[in-house]
């Protein structure tokens, strides 16, 4: 189902069971640990006009309902504060299923083939990481707010790196 809450920057496509608390970071039905997420989890990156991504999301929704695609999220508008002029869709899945998911995306007109691991993304958002620092600059945060955001990122993401055997839990966005 498509979850489009105007107060969120992101629009999600999720299976209804995820709203009931079930995890979507699964492989062969088993919940992934933090360590397995860092090893296997990632996403196909799709860039385009918001209207095209809306249309693509409607087509992919059935694959999410059928639990072939675990989760999708995309921008409500291009994140210009990160220097982007197109909206970005992230089609999440396990690396071991990624080619199967790619075939689906290709059938629906996706041309750019770009796989980004969750580990890479987390490293971009750690203190000193290029995206967190760019975001702090773009938001014109004061020293105190910047420090708070760096500490928050270090705590949230650091927990995942430091507790590899715990079951992964995504956070609210």
């Amino acid at each position: 189902m498509i979850i489009d809450r105007p107060d969120s920057h992101f629009i999600f496509v999720m299976h209804p069971s995820v709203l009931m608390g079930k995890k979507y970071t699964l492989y062969e039905g088993k919940e992934l640990t933090n360590g397995e997420v860092l090893q296997y989890w990632g996403k196909w990156i799709v860039l385009g006009e918001k209207s095209w991504l809306d249309e693509l999301a409607r087509k992919l929704d059935q694959y999410v309902e059928d639990q072939v695609i675990p989760c999708i999220k995309y921008d409500r508008k291009p994140p210009e504060n990160l220097g982007l002029t197109e909206a970005v869709m992230m089609v999440y899945c396990d690396k071991r299923k990624s080619e199967e998911i790619w075939q689906i995306l290709q059938q629906h007109g996706v041309k750019i083939k770009a796989w980004v691991t969750e580990r890479e993304t987390m490293e971009m958002w750690l203190p000193g990481g290029p995206l967190l620092e760019q975001w702090i600059t773009s938001m014109n945060l004061g020293e105190e707010e910047a420090r708070f955001n760096r500490e928050d990122a270090a705590a949230r993401l650091g927990y995942i790196f430091n507790h590899p055997d715990e079951i992964f839990s995504a956070w609210e966005q």
Binding site: L82, G83, L84, W102, K111, A114, W115
Partner: protein, 91 residues
């Protein structure tokens, strides 16, 4: 040896207004040199002053980030597709 380069709409200016072009080369580095010949300034935008991939971009061969392959020395073969996206899109 024909390699296809595909970029999203926001990076079409890199390729003279096209989102898909072909180039020649046996490695990604050679492809970038060929593209620089065809599209003046391509190399200086995609590579940094050290000759490495500019931190503003991510380059993929068959979906895999060049940073986890052999970077610019990564071999390509006839028919391969190379994708370039803005770095921030990966976050």
């Amino acid at each position: 040896m024909s390699i296809t380069i595909i970029v999203p709409g926001s990076l079409k200016d890199l390729l003279g207004g096209s989102d898909q072009v072909t180039c020649e080369g046996k490695t990604i580095g050679e492809c970038i040199a060929d593209l620089d010949y065809k599209f003046s300034g391509f190399k200086s935008r995609v590579l940094d002053e050290k000759g490495e991939i500019n931190s503003s971009f991510m380059i993929f061969l068959d979906g895999q980030n060049l940073r986890i392959l052999d970077g610019l020395a990564t071999s390509v073969k006839d028919g391969d597709e190379v994708n370039i996206i803005p770095f921030a899109a990966g976050g």
